[in-house]
Symmetry: C2
Subunit: 370 residues, 2 copies
């Protein structure tokens, strides 16, 4: 099984193939042999323990590494060390730009701290989540960042009991106390709701997906009702299941009509980006391309199309959320043993035309709406 790639008596041969020989990547042993030394010195060099090595040996090592194009095997390294610099990142839905943006923060932070994110995309399937969670333990990730929908207490206990730190993103999980980072939902919702009221809308309709086990949805809905109450405004909630939205959309139409018939200026408040898109598409089908003039729409999540639609939105500090999640994990991995933390970041209201100035007579008449 020895290979000593190309000995001095065959110079120039295989010059274009720096690797040991066939397919197999060079190992630390290959490098040691090539440099005429033992594995220990190579390992020392790799781990930055220079200064302990003689000038001469150091040069030989570098030459050998370059010649063989050697890269240390992270798997073996992890096996020995007990840690492989892998951290798991479970995402419920990459179709949601929110997830992608958080991911970018996570990646940047990992990059900076020397971790490698093992990204798992559940694609909204609960079994996938379970399966991926299993896989993550199998690959011995050092920690996990979780943003999922169906994850229950039991699934995460495998990690917490195993001493593997878990950081939750956007939503909490019942029965699990651990670090969490996400949007300050109450503040964000209050901000947006106040904006609608300030602009003169007097019938608010909050539209949200089924809140089952997704804490952020529950929090947003609750915050909406509280704010509406505290402002003595009129508002209600509509639950929509994106998988089968027909009935909810019909209900939506009715409520809009009813409010208008009562002379109210109605504004729709979508609890997140996907909901907003579904609603917007529906409004466009009903009111035509100029639907914006007929009904106001605001959303949490500043989707890429929000600018195109001129929709007011609450921008989440997504990048920062991802960054902080990794930082939390890093601290835990460093041995920090503090109680579970909760990091709630503020959202930013981006005002666009969709919620601008609801003066009743002006917007209604010239439009062909309804």
């Amino acid at each position: 099984m020895t290979n000593k790639s190309n000995d001095p008596d065959h110079p120039g041969t295989e010059a274009h193939r720096p690797r040991s020989f066939a397919g197999r990547p060079a190992t630390i042993t290959d490098v040691a042999r090539e440099a005429g030394t033992g594995k220990t010195s190579i390992s020392r060099y790799l781990n930055g323990e220079t200064g302990v090595l003689s000038r001469d040996l150091l040069g030989r090592i570098e030459a050998a590494i370059a010649k063989l194009d050697y890269r240390p095997n992270q798997m073996a390294r992890g096996l020995k060390r007990g840690r492989n610099r892998l951290i798991g990142m479970l995402l419920a839905d990459l179709t949601n730009p929110y997830s992608v943006e958080v991911l970018q923060g996570v990646e940047a932070a990992c990059h900076a701290l020397g971790y490698m994110p093992l990204i798992c995309h559940a694609a909204n399937e609960v079994d996938m989540e379970r399966r991926y969670l299993q896989l993550l333990t199998t690959y011995r990730v050092e920690g996990v960042i979780v943003n999922a929908l169906g994850v229950k207490e039991e699934l995460l206990q495998g990690f917490t009991h195993g001493g593997i730190p878990v950081v939750l993103v956007d939503r909490t999980v019942e029965g699990i106390v651990t670090d969490m980072v996400g949007l300050d939902n109450p503040a964000a919702v209050a901000l947006a709701t106040r904006h609608l009221v300030d602009e003169g809308f007097d019938e608010l309709l909050f539209i949200v997906q089924p809140v089952t086990h997704v804490s952020s949805r529950r929090l947003r809905e609750a915050a909406f009702r509280e704010t509406v109450a505290s402002l003595r405004a009129s508002g209600s909630t509509l639950v929509i299941d994106l998988a089968s939205a027909a009935s909810a959309l019909a209900e939506l139409d009715e409520r809009i009509d009813a409010a208008r018939a009562a002379g109210k200026r109605v504004a729709l408040f979508a609890a997140n980006g996907p909901v907003a898109l579904r609603v917007a598409v529906h409004l466009k089908e009903r009111f035509g391309t100029n639907w914006q003039a007929s009904v106001a729409l605001l959303a949490i999540d500043d989707s890429e199309w929000a600018q195109l639609a001129g929709m007011t939105a609450v921008r989440q500090p997504t990048y920062e959320i991802g960054r902080r999640a990794v930082e939390f994990l890093h601290e835990r991995l460093g041995g920090a043993a503090m109680p579970a933390r909760e990091c709630l970041l503020p959202g930013e209201l981006i005002v666009r035309g969709s919620t601008h100035c609801a003066v009743p007579e002006q917007a209604q008449l010239p439009s062909q709406g309804l």
Copy 2:
């Protein structure tokens, strides 16, 4: 996932910590000891070599595994076996829905074939791409799927020379001959261009990002010109750099005005989703919310907002692209030694209002456009 608590002589104690003992995950040795047997039998059980094991032993093994909540260490397994079931997936830009959709195909196929995708997101940064490519070799992935922008021959040679199969997605890389899967660009562009001409548009403007080193962009642009020529239509190309789009957009305005002044019915053809969005936002700023009535827009990539904007688009078989990429890789990993293949999948034209019937007098007059 029940874990029959613990042994009979300590009932109730530590019921909440099924793992071996302290944080450390159980090893195969622990299981062997627990089951009162050797590691070999455990290994056999894990690899499905049942039937070779006695009824009794099998039961003990299952019990031990459940009790210790044992999960084989993929790292160690990979180290020994020489393959760790990891395949690298390098993506240029997850912000582009195209990438996410391809990814979903990749994940599903990996899932089905027993691989674990190691997802690397370069976020449009060339150094990131290089760095991730390094990391992938470091983690000894068995194969790579690459969809990147700045990747050059040399970077990929590390894999090909190392005998690690590479599959390219959407674009080829100069100097690298290897499996590739993507859209049938010539056919897709021809399809869309013909549609525009059929609908009565007689001034076509193809808008594309700088084609430097991205083969798919070049192919699309070339196909556009060829089709325009073969149809004896009038068309030109505009290059836009999304990072600094101002000048290109100004140029766009001029060309639109010129064409209109000449009595032409102009249609814009965006080479991909991100370009389409940028252009659409610009058109909206210029022509107002009803910009659709003023100028036709068509794009390759059926973005999520396309339906909202009522934009005609060419839907790429993204999911299938991802699936095929993994299949190609799987075949190579199985030892298949055929020449490099190229799999070009057809796109699907989704006709929406934006390109509907360019009868000149009807669409222009009632709109307040320009």
